[in-house]
């Protein structure tokens, strides 16, 4: 019925289909409403220069902002809000405004302005997605835009200084998270059992904070204490984004543990192999036992015994 639709958005990582909150929102809504959208991870076009992502292209129509994209999908009969009452629709708008005012500045700050986070995580990740000249220029531009936005909307006019605003925006963000948690309560989604536009927006804003591993993470720590919001994100990831989740390990901690486990297993295998070789050589009657340089990483006790047996 509808023309094929193609969505261009930022790539993902850390178990998420995309790192960009607006792209995530649109992706989530497309999954909730069942819209057949082919996702195109963009990394090297002029659109990213203009900062216009996510972008939906359908036949000749090009639509760029999340709210407009969602409107377009609704007009194409992919409506996730079909069962909502009018009041719930109004609540949706209000909560989206709350997210944009209170949570978005802190999200931008964590990603783009917090010096350690920016230098060690955000900049390398975004820079690695672009070809050479853009990779030098674009992350800096996005960081400057984020700083501008925060200062102009939250900073007081005479001063425009960041330090005063930082405390305020994190406090607002934590309050916003608490409010969302209270609103969600114990239900699965914000309006019952079926996900809607509001769930898409909340997921889009929360998932990057929840999943991406930053050095400075006090917002993530606060979020992890709100168990129902974490459960909400995980539910959506496993139900709607399962294929991308299985290919990555969710958190840095788990990756480190998994790597450690693999290493230990490898070491054990090596030591078992070496012991077997030892035994075989001892048992064989023809050849005198050769000195083996054992590369054992196991306890020193094992090392000394074959050596002592080998000495003639």
């Amino acid at each position: 019925m509808a023309a094929p639709m193609e969505l261009s958005c930022w790539e993902g990582g850390w178990g998420l289909p995309s790192l960009h909150p607006e792209s995530l929102t649109v992706l989530a809504y497309a999954k909730f409403s069942g819209a057949p959208v082919t996702v195109n991870s963009v990394n090297n076009s002029w659109r990213t220069l203009k900062g216009d992502l996510p972008v939906l292209v359908s036949e000749d129509i090009v639509i760029s902002q999340p709210a407009k994209i969602l409107n377009f999908l609704r007009k194409q009969k992919y409506n996730a809000d079909y069962d909502l009452s009018a009041k719930q629709g109004a609540d949706t708008l209000a909560y989206i405004a709350l997210l944009e005012e209170k949570l978005l500045p802190a999200l931008l700050h964590t990603f783009w302005i917090e010096a350690e986070n920016y230098r060690s995580v955000t900049k390398p990740w975004f820079a690695s997605r672009f070809a050479f000249p853009l990779s030098l220029y674009l992350p800096g531009k996005m960081s400057r835009e984020a700083l501008n936005r925060i200062l102009l909307t939250k900073g007081g006019p005479p001063l425009y200084s960041l330090t005063e605003v930082e405390g305020q925006i994190y406090r607002d963000a934590k309050e916003c998270l608490n409010l969302l948690s209270k609103r969600l309560g114990t239900s699965q989604f914000f309006f019952g059992d079926v996900p809607t536009t509001l769930d898409a927006f909340v997921f889009g804003f929360l998932a990057p904070i929840y999943k991406v591993c930053f050095p400075k993470v006090h917002l993530q720590v606060h979020l992890k204490q709100l168990l129902n919001l974490c459960r909400f994100c995980d539910d959506i990831l496993t139900r709607y984004f399962r294929s991308t989740v299985s290919s990555h390990s969710p958190a840095g901690q788990d990756t480190a543990d998994a790597n450690l486990q693999k290493l230990t297993q490898l070491v054990n295998k090596e030591s078992n192999l070496i012991e077997k070789m030892d035994d075989n050589l001892r048992k064989s009657p023809q050849h005198p036992p050769r000195k083996l340089t054992t590369l054992k990483l196991a306890a020193g006790g094992e090392e000394s015994s074959p050596m002592s047996r080998l000495s003639p």
Binding site: A86, A90, A94
Partner: protein, 275 residues
Amino acid sequence: MSLVAEAFVTQLAAAEPWPENAALYQQLKEEQILLSDNASSLAVQAFLQMCNLPVRVICRANAEYMSPSGKVPFIHVGNQVVSELGPIVQFVKAKGHSLSDGLDEVQKAEMKAYMELVNNMLLTAELYLQWCDDVTVEEITHPRYGSPYPWPLNRILSYQKQWEVRRKMKAIGWAGKTLEQVLEDVDQCCHALSQRLGTQPYFFNKHPTELDALVFGHLFTILTTQLITDELSEKVKNYSNLTAFCRRIEQQYFEGHDKDSSAIAARSSKRPLLR
């Protein structure tokens, strides 16, 4: 403000009761004040009326510069100065008066969300209309904003403010919107507010809260201010429960109070504008 400073101020606030000579400062009512500032000021006045706290309205040409955060209105209570509705609500709460104590947690979350909706959409739309729509800027805003000052100061100040507001619009992505889109957003916001209000007298049924004060401030100002065209007020008039809501609050809290002539004068004289 840092956490420590805020705690200190709250403690100071809690120490004294509300004095008789509390004052609210805004710009000059007849010649200078603009749509958005008038809306914010009316919201604070409505809130204080709802809390039954007396306050005098004082009009000064340099109110914006006197304010600690650069925004009007601000109140001068005892020896403290607090500006903008959010901090004023907290300040009043520290003194022991609150309108939203009876709400449960989910309702408080809703109230905050709707207040953000009004700030995000209505206030930004008002600012857009005042400072980014060229016709309105030329004919209404520039003459009014600098009116207390002599030439060339009046032009310099209004250009400076315009540049500041346009920067902010660009940062939040509203610079690319057309007037029709902005009016569309206002309509969406009013639709949401109308749906939420339904047939109740106030947003949280029986008693008014700061949300009612904020919505009243903005909607009443939009309804009673004469601009180049009536499109903005038409959008609000489409929702009869919202106009009834404004009328109800005006009658209950503003009629019979002589000192609060802003609401009544606005209604009767349609705020003579330089046209």
